[in-house]
C-alpha cells in the first residue's frame, strides 16, 4: 500500500524564519507548505493527508496555542510541533498536554527538527490507522441491536452467560443466541478479540449489579 508523501505545514509570522525553515525542509526532501499567520492556515482547505504542523507560538492576532485549540475543535489529526523563540516550562507542558508532538526552541537544529517531524509523521500515521480501525469497529457496532449492545457490554466485562441472563432478566439460552450474533456482527472469533476491540472503541463494560 503506497501512501501519499506527507507534507510539513509551517506557520510563523517571521518571514525570514519561515523562508529558512522552508529551505531546510525542502532540502531534507520534504513537502513543505508555509503560512505567515495562523489565520492564513485556517483559511486553507482542511488537511486530509499525512503531515505535521510546525507552529510558532508568539504571533500577533491568533497565536500558536490558540491555533492548536482551534484545530482540536475541528478534530484535526494533524500532529503539531511547537517552535518558540522563548518558551517556558508551563507553556510547553500545556502544549504537550494538548497533544503537541514536540516543543522546540529556536534556533532549532535541523536533526532535532527533522526527527520531530518524522516522529510526528509516525504519530500521525498511527493516529490515522487507529482512527480507521475505530471507524471499522464503530461501523460493526452500528449493526448491533440495542439488546446485543447490552450483551456486548456484559461480555466485555467478562461475565458468564448465566450472570448476564440474570441481570438482563432473561434466560441463558437467549443470551447465548445474542452472544453468537454479537461475535458474528463484530467479526471476531474469540472473546479476547472482542475485548480488545471494545477497548479500542472505549466501549464501557457494563457495571456489575451484584
Amino acid at each position: 500500500m503506497s501512501e501519499p508523501e506527507p507534507t510539513v505545514f509551517v506557520v510563523d509570522d517571521d518571514p525570514s524564519v519561515l523562508k529558512g525553515l522552508r529551505r531546510l525542509l525542502v532540502a531534507a526532501g520534504l513537502n513543505v507548505e508555509t503560512f505567515g499567520s495562523p489565520q492564513e492556515f485556517l483559511e486553507r482547505p482542511e488537511v486530509t493527508g499525512l503531515g505535521c504542523l510546525v507552529l510558532d507560538v508568539a504571533m500577533p492576532g491568533l497565536n500558536g496555542m490558540e491555533l492548536q485549540e482551534a484545530l482540536d475543535a475541528r478534530g484535526s489529526l494533524l500532529p503539531i510541533i511547537f517552535l518558540t523563540g522563548h518558551g517556558d516550562i508551563p507553556m510547553s507542558v500545556r502544549a504537550i498536554k494538548r497533544g503537541a508532538v514536540d516543543f522546540l526552541t529556536k534556533p532549532v537544529d535541523d536533526e532535532d527538527l527533522l526527527a520531530a517531524i518524522r516522529n510526528a509523521f509516525d504519530k500521525g500515521r498511527a493516529l490515522r490507522q487507529a482512527r480507521a480501525e475505530m471507524a471499522d469497529i464503530e461501523r460493526r457496532m452500528a449493526t448491533l441491536t440495542p439488546r446485543e449492545r447490552e450483551v456486548l457490554a456484559h461480555m466485555v466485562s467478562g461475565r458468564l452467560n448465566k450472570q448476564i441472563a440474570a441481570d438482563l432478566g432473561t434466560v441463558e439460552k437467549t443470551i447465548k443466541v445474542h452472544r453468537a450474533r454479537v461475535m458474528e456482527k463484530m467479526q471476531v472469533r474469540s472473546l479476547a478479540e472482542l475485548v480488545r476491540l471494545a477497548e479500542r472503541a472505549r466501549i464501557k463494560s457494563a457495571p456489575s449489579k451484584s
Partner: protein, 870 residues
C-alpha cells in the same frame, strides 16, 4: 436956577452913574462885595444930593419937614455901606465895632421916624431964604431942636472912631499900598465924619443958620474910595492877564508833569488837609485798577486801602512830615487794589502849603508802583536766605583768601564747619593749618599749594579737630584767581562737613569686609575701588594689588572683551540683578586658574558717581555637588533601565532568537543542498544572502539592547519622537505578543523635533509601555489594547500612552511619580520617579489621567527644540 442946584444935580447924576457901574461890576463878579458896597455908597450919595436939592427947592415947611425926616435913609445907607466897605477893603476893622455902629444908626433911624419931625428937630416953624455966595438963595429952616439929637451925633462919632481904628490898623501893616489906602480912604472918611458932625451940630442946634448942604463933604471919600477901587480893578485886570499867561504856563507844566509822571509811571496825589479831600492822578486810579477819577476822593478812603501792617509806619512818616520835622517823607507800603490784590508802592510826599502858624494845609506827593521790584527783591532775599540756610544745613562753609594781604575771610558757616564760633577764626593761613588734623595736614597743605601753582580747581578731603576734640571729615574745593601777570591773588572755595558720609562709608566698608561673600566695588571706569578679604582669598590677590586695577584682570581672557561691553552697558542702566543669567561664569585667579562663580550686581549711587558692588560666590563646591547629583541621577536611570530590561529579557531573547533561528535553518539547508552534490550555487548564494540579512538583524537587536544598557553620558540631539515610539514598540514586540497585548499607534505627522537624549526618552517610553501592559494583566486578552499617540500642543510635543486596565485611583494620580510608590505587586516604585526626573531634565512635564471609558493614560510633553540655525 442957581449954581448950587446945577452942581447938586451934576453930583447926583455922577453918583448914580458910579453906582450903576460898580453895581454892574459886582453883578458880574459876585465875590467882589467891595463893588456892591461902593455902588450902595454912591447911590446913597446920589439920594442924599437929591434930598438936599429938594430941600433947597422946598416951597413949604411941610415939604421941608418931610424931606428932613426921610433924608436919614440915605444917611443910613451911607454909614452902613462905608463901614462894611472899610471892613472888606481894608481887611481890618473890628466886627463888633462895625455892628455896633450900624445897630446904633438903626436905632437913630427908629427914633427919627418916631419923632414928630425928625431926630434933629421937634418942630420946623418957618423957612427963611438965605442968600449964598454967587447970588444963589436957599431956604433955611427955623426949628425947635430935638433933645434926642445927640444920639445922632454919637453915632457919627462912633462911625468916625471905627473908621479911624480900621485906618490905623491898616496903616500899621505898613506898605505903600496900605498906607496910601489908609490915608486916602480913611482920611477922607474921617474928615467927612468930623466935618459932617460939626456942621450938623452947628446947624441943628441952631448955633449957625446954615442950609442943609453937606453933599460936598461926602465927595471926598467917594472919590478916594472910587480911586482906590478903580486902581484895584485895573490891577486886577493886569493880574488877570498875568494869571492867564501863568495859567497857560501852568497848564503846560501840568501837562509836562503828567507826561513825566506817566512816563515814570508815577502817580500824583494832592491832599487838601483842611477838608480831607485828595486828588489822585489818573495813574493812581489806574494802579488801583479803577476807572480814572473813580471812587477815591478823600484821605480817609485812601488810607483805608493801605495794608494794616504798613499803616503804622506810613502814619509815623506822615506825621513827621506834617509836623515839619522832615522836609519830605518816603516810605514803601502796600495798598489794596480794587480787585483785592496787594500792590507795593513807594510813596513820597511833602507839605506844600502851610498857614501862618505853620500848620500844614496841603501835601502833595508821588507814588510809584514797585511791586515788581519788591518781588524781585523778595526773590533775591529769599534765594539768599535759601543759600544761607542750605549752607547752614549742609554745613557748607565758604572762604575768601586774599593772598597778597594774607587775610582769609571765613563765613560763619565755614567757622561752624571747623567747630569755631562766629568770628572765631584768626583769618590766617597758619591758623587754618593748625585746625587740620596733623595726619592730614601735609596732604591738605599740598592740595592748597597745588592750586596755587597750577591754578586748577582742586578737591581734597581731610580731617579737622574741633576745639571740643571731636574729629570731623571735610571735603574742600578751591580755586585760585590770578592777576594779569598770572600771579595768584585770591583763592576762594568751599568746605563741606562730610563726616556723616565718611562714617556711612566706613560702616559700608566694614559691612563689605565682614560679608561672607567676596565683594568687589568697581567704579564707572571699570577700576576696582575696594575688595574684601574674601575676594582676596578667592582670587589670590592682595587688596593693594587690585585696587585701581581694571576689573577685567579677574576675568578669563576669552571673556574679557565681552565683559567690557556688558559692563558699560550695565552702567548705563544699572539695577540690582544677577550677572550673566543662564550662563556659567568663571573668574580668573592670580595663578591663571579659573573658578566657577555666581555674581550678584548692585549699583551704589555716590557723590563720585555710580559704583557697582559685585558680590561673588565661589560655586566650585556647588558645581561638584551638582555634578555628583547628576551622576547619581544618571546611575539611577541606568540601573532602572537594567532592571526594566531584566523584565523584558524573555521577549528580548525571542527577538534575538528569531534571526538566529532563520540563520541556523538557512545554514543547515545550505549544507543539505551542498550535501546533495548538485552544484546549486544560485540557491546557496541566496541562502547566504539571507543569512547575512538575519545576522545583521540579530546584531541590530543586540545593538539596541546595548544602547539601553550602556552607561553613557547624556547627549542632547534633535530627535523625532515618532521614531523613538516605533523603536520602543519594535523592542517590545515580543513582549507585547507574549502578553497578548495589541498595540496601536496614532502618530502625528510633521512633528517638530525635540531636543533630548535618545536613550533616556526610550527608557521613559519603555517604562510607560511596560506599565501599561502590566496594568492589563488581569484583563481578558481581547481587551488588552495599548494605544500610543503623539501630538503637538502649545509648542510641546506630547506623547500619550493609554492602556485598558483598571485605571489609577484619583488620589494616586500624583503620587505614582514619587519614588517608592508603586501600585504593582512586585514593583519597587522607581520607574515613574525616574521617568519624571528624566522628563524634567528635558524641561518637560509628565502626568497621568484616567480615561473616560477604562484604563489610564500617562502623558509626557517636551518643548519643541528651537530651529537649528537659531
Amino acid at each position: 436956577m442957581n449954581w448950587v442946584i446945577v452942581l447938586w444935580l451934576m453930583i447926583a447924576s455922577a453918583c448914580l452913574t458910579l453906582a450903576f457901574i460898580h453895581l454892574l461890576i459886582w453883578f458880574k463878579q459876585r465875590a467882589q462885595y467891595a463893588h456892591l458896597l461902593y455902588g450902595a455908597f454912591a447911590l446913597g450919595v446920589a439920594c442924599f444930593a437929591a434930598f438936599e436939592l429938594l430941600m433947597m427947592r422946598a416951597e413949604s415947611v411941610e415939604q421941608f419937614r418931610l424931606l428932613q425926616r426921610w433924608i436919614h435913609v440915605p444917611i443910613f445907607i451911607l454909614i452902613v455901606s462905608s463901614v462894611w466897605f472899610v471892613r472888606i477893603f481894608f481887611g481890618t476893622g473890628r466886627l463888633w465895632f462895625a455892628v455896633a455902629v450900624i445897630g446904633l444908626r438903626l436905632l437913630v433911624l427908629v427914633v427919627n421916624f418916631s419923632s414928630a419931625t425928625s431926630i434933629n428937630y421937634l418942630e420946623i416953624t418957618a423957612l427963611r431964604p438965605v442968600e449964598l455966595w454967587g447970588g444963589a438963595t436957599v431956604p433955611v429952616a427955623e426949628t425947635v431942636v430935638n433933645p434926642w439929637g445927640w444920639v445922632g451925633g454919637l453915632t457919627l462919632l462912633l462911625w468916625g472912631v471905627f473908621v479911624a481904628d480900621a485906618t490905623l490898623l491898616l496903616w500899621a501893616r505898613g506898605g505903600p499900598d496900605n498906607r496910601r489906602r489908609a490915608g486916602l480912604v480913611g482920611g477922607s472918611l474921617i474928615f467927612l465924619v468930623v466935618a459932617g458932625a460939626v456942621q450938623s451940630q452947628l446947624m441943628h442946634q441952631g448955633i449957625v443958620k446954615l442950609p442943609h448942604l453937606m453933599t460936598w463933604l461926602i465927595l471926598g471919600p467917594l472919590l478916594a474910595m472910587g480911586y482906590e477901587l478903580g486902581s484895584d480893578v485895573f490891577r486886577a485886570a493886569q493880574l488877570a492877564r498875568k494869571v492867564q499867561a501863568g495859567e497857560a504856563q501852568l497848564q503846560m507844566n501840568a501837562e509836562r508833569l503828567r507826561l513825566a509822571l506817566t512816563g515814570a509811571r508815577l502817580a500824583l496825589w494832592d491832599w487838601d488837609i483842611a477838608n480831607g479831600e485828595v486828588y489822585l492822578s489818573d495813574r493812581w486810579q489806574e494802579m488801583l485798577g479803577g476807572a480814572p477819577q473813580a471812587a477815591i476822593t478823600t484821605f480817609a478812603e485812601l488810607a483805608g486801602l493801605v495794608h494794616s501792617d504798613d499803616f503804622p509806619v506810613l502814619r509815623r512818616h506822615l506825621r513827621e512830615a506834617l509836623k515839619g520835622a522832615v522836609p519830605a517823607y518816603e516810605v514803601d507800603h502796600r495798598v489794596r487794589t480794587l480787585s483785592g490784590d496787594w500792590l507795593w508802592i513807594h510813596s513820597r510826599g511833602e507839605v506844600v502849603v502851610r498857614d501862618s502858624s505853620g500848620r500844614a494845609l496841603r501835601m502833595t506827593g508821588v507814588n510809584e508802583d514797585i511791586t515788581g521790584r519788591k518781588q524781585a527783591e523778595d526773590a533775591l532775599r529769599r534765594s539768599e536766605e535759601r543759600l544761607r540756610l542750605s549752607q547752614q544745613v549742609a554745613r557748607v562753609g565758604t572762604f575768601d583768601w586774599d593772598i597778597a594781604t594774607g587775610v582769609n575771610v571765613w563765613t560763619p558757616e565755614m567757622e561752624a564747619v571747623y567747630g569755631l564760633p562766629p568770628g572765631g577764626f584768626a583769618k590766617t593761613r597758619s591758623a587754618w593749618e593748625s585746625l587740620v588734623h596733623p595726619d592730614d595736614r601735609a596732604r591738605a597743605v599740598q592740595k592748597v599749594n597745588v592750586t596755587l601753582q597750577t591754578g586748577q580747581r582742586v578737591e581734597g578731603e581731610w580731617r579737622v579737630i574741633w576745639p571740643d576734640g571731636s574729629i570731623h571729615w571735610l571735603s574742600g574745593r578751591f580755586q585760585v584767581f590770578k592777576d594779569e601777570a598770572g600771579k595768584p591773588v585770591r583763592m576762594t572755595g568751599v568746605n563741606i562737613d562730610i563726616t556723616d558720609r565718611k562714617q556711612a562709608e566706613e560702616r559700608f566698608r566694614l559691612v563689605v569686609e565682614a560679608s561672607p561673600n567676596a565683594m568687589i566695588i568697581v567704579n564707572g571706569k571699570g577700576e576696582i575701588v575696594l575688595l574684601n578679604p574674601q575676594a582676596e582669598k578667592i582670587f589670590g590677590y592682595a587688596q593693594d594689588e587690585l585696587v585701581n586695577c581694571s576689573i577685567e584682570v579677574l576675568i578669563p581672557e576669552r571673556f574679557r572683551a565681552a565683559h567690557r561691553d556688558d559692563r558699560s552697558e550695565y552702567f548705563r542702566s544699572a539695577s540690582g540683578r544677577m550677572m550673566g543669567a543662564g550662563r556659567d561664569l568663571y573668574a580668573r585667579r592670580r595663578d591663571g586658574s579659573e573658578v566657577p562663580v555666581e555674581i550678584g550686581l548692585a549699583p551704589i549711587a555716590t557723590p563720585e558717581g555710580t559704583l557697582i558692588l559685585a558680590s561673588i560666590i565661589d560655586i566650585t563646591e556647588r558645581r561638584q555637588i551638582e555634578s555628583e547629583a547628576a551622576a547619581a541621577h544618571d546611575e539611577l536611570a541606568h540601573l532602572s533601565r537594567v532592571a526594566m530590561l531584566g523584565e523584558l529579557s524573555g521577549s528580548l531573547a525571542h527577538e534575538l532568537n528569531q534571526p538566529l533561528a532563520a540563520i541556523l535553518s538557512n545554514a543547515q539547508a545550505a549544507q543539505r543542498v551542498l550535501g546533495h552534490g548538485t552544484e546549486n550555487v544560485a540557491e546557496v548564494r541566496e541562502i547566504l544572502k539571507d543569512i547575512v540579512e538575519d545576522d545583521k538583524r540579530a546584531g541590530e537587536v543586540i545593538r539596541r539592547l546595548r544602547v539601553l544598557l550602556k552607561k553613557e553620558d547624556v547627549e542632547l540631539h534633535s530627535l523625532d519622537i515618532n521614531e523613538i515610539v516605533l523603536d520602543v514598540l519594535r523592542l517590545m514586540r515580543s513582549d507585547l505578543l507574549n502578553r497578548i497585548v495589541t498595540a496601536s499607534t496614532g502618530l502625528a505627522s510633521d512633528l517638530p523635533a525635540v531636543r533630548g537624549d535618545r536613550i533616556q526618552l526610550q527608557q521613559v517610553l519603555l517604562n510607560l509601555v511596560i506599565n501599561a501592559c502590566d496594568a492589563m494583566i488581569g484583563s481578558p486578552a481581547r481587551d488588552r489594547q495599548l494605544d500610543v499617540r503623539t501630538l503637538l500642543v502649545d509648542g510641546h510635543v506630547e506623547v500619550c500612552v493609554a492602556d485598558h486596565g483598571k485605571g489609577i485611583p484619583p488620589e494616586d494620580l500624583e503620587r505614582i511619580f514619587q519614588p517608592f510608590v508603586t501600585t504593582k505587586l512586585h514593583g519597587i516604585g522607581l520607574g515613574l520617579a525616574v521617568c519624571r526626573t528624566i522628563v524634567n531634565a528635558h524641561a518637560g512635564r509628565i502626568w497621568a489621567t484616567n480615561n473616560g471609558t477604562r484604563g489610564a493614560t500617562v502623558h509626557f510633553a517636551l518643548p519643541v527644540s528651537p530651529p537649528r540655525n537659531a
